[in-house]
Symmetry: C2
Subunit: 179 residues, 2 copies
């Protein structure tokens, strides 16, 4: 993660990672089947970290379903999730999705897990069962898109603005998605 953040997806070589970890380059091959597996496990780790941060934000929110939902999206645009330093990890992982079927499956699983957590919150907030799937896809896409542009062009809008945009969208999802 540190090397990806500092050197980018192209600069995260076995040697650079080993040096950052203070071990020899050969040790990487002892614990991972290859550099791609290392990146995949790094992504898994970051995804778990993000999930933990989101769950914590939801747990710390008032018990009202709507408040929990808003805490979920608000946390998406505050540290430790909305760091541009995490972007390189995502990019490095995405660049493997199209070429490696196993990585594609991992992405599908983790993306599905994210949507499932969101569906749970949306259901509690009163979204109709028939609209749940599309609502979760929509909120996920909006949050992902805002997060991505926030990392790529941090001066265009702020994390607070992104949170406000996403929370306003939640209002339309919870109130209007009846047809």
């Amino acid at each position: 993660m540190r090397v990806l953040a500092r050197a980018g997806a192209n600069g995260a070589s076995v040697r650079a990672i080993a040096q950052e970890a203070g071990v020899s380059p050969g040790l990487v091959g002892h614990y991972f089947t290859g550099i791609d597996a290392l990146i995949a496990e790094t992504y898994t780790h970051v995804d778990a970290m993000v999930t933990r941060a989101l769950d914590a934000a939801v747990a710390a929110a008032p018990p009202q379903p709507r408040a929990r939902l808003e805490a979920f999206v608000t946390a998406s645009f505050t540290a430790p999730i909305a760091q541009p330093a995490l972007l390189a990890t995502w990019i490095a992982f995405w660049s493997l999705v199209t070429s490696q079927p196993q990585i594609a499956r991992q992405h599908d699983d983790q993306y599905a897990g994210y949507r499932a957590r969101l569906e749970h919150l949306l259901r509690e907030a009163g979204v109709a069962e028939a609209d749940l799937r599309h609502a979760a896809i929509a909120v996920t896409a909006l949050v992902d898109g805002l997060w991505l542009e926030l990392c790529l062009s941090p001066q265009c809008f702020s994390g607070e603005e992104a949170g406000a945009i996403a929370r306003r969208f939640l209002g339309t999802v919870c109130g209007d998605v009846a047809g």
Copy 2:
């Protein structure tokens, strides 16, 4: 573009590109200052192609502002824009944004251009001036997020579903963004 689509961001080397183009590797250095500049120009080219496709879709739509707006987002999820083959070009470009200030500026410009076109359509569709900026950011993020996940997990939802989700969101933006 073809090499990026076939070999991914990591496999798009000077030699592979030259071979695809049927020229010698040395010729790349004659027309571009380096591989990064080549990727940046490729991104510019793809962005122009996308812009052209979107403008054509808007021009072919009925004259009603709302129909033009819907044509804009619908086209975002149909060929030639919603090809997973284009994803590698964006990923290769994104991986350069954080490390190269010039590339970051290029991204800012093209992202701003996209939002400006969208703001124009939203204004015509009756979105209040005060809400225009946030509305454009929101629609852009939703479309980008849907487009990204559509390319990464094509079996999760279809381009038609993505278009339907985005069009429904347009309804809330045009009708409810008053406060």
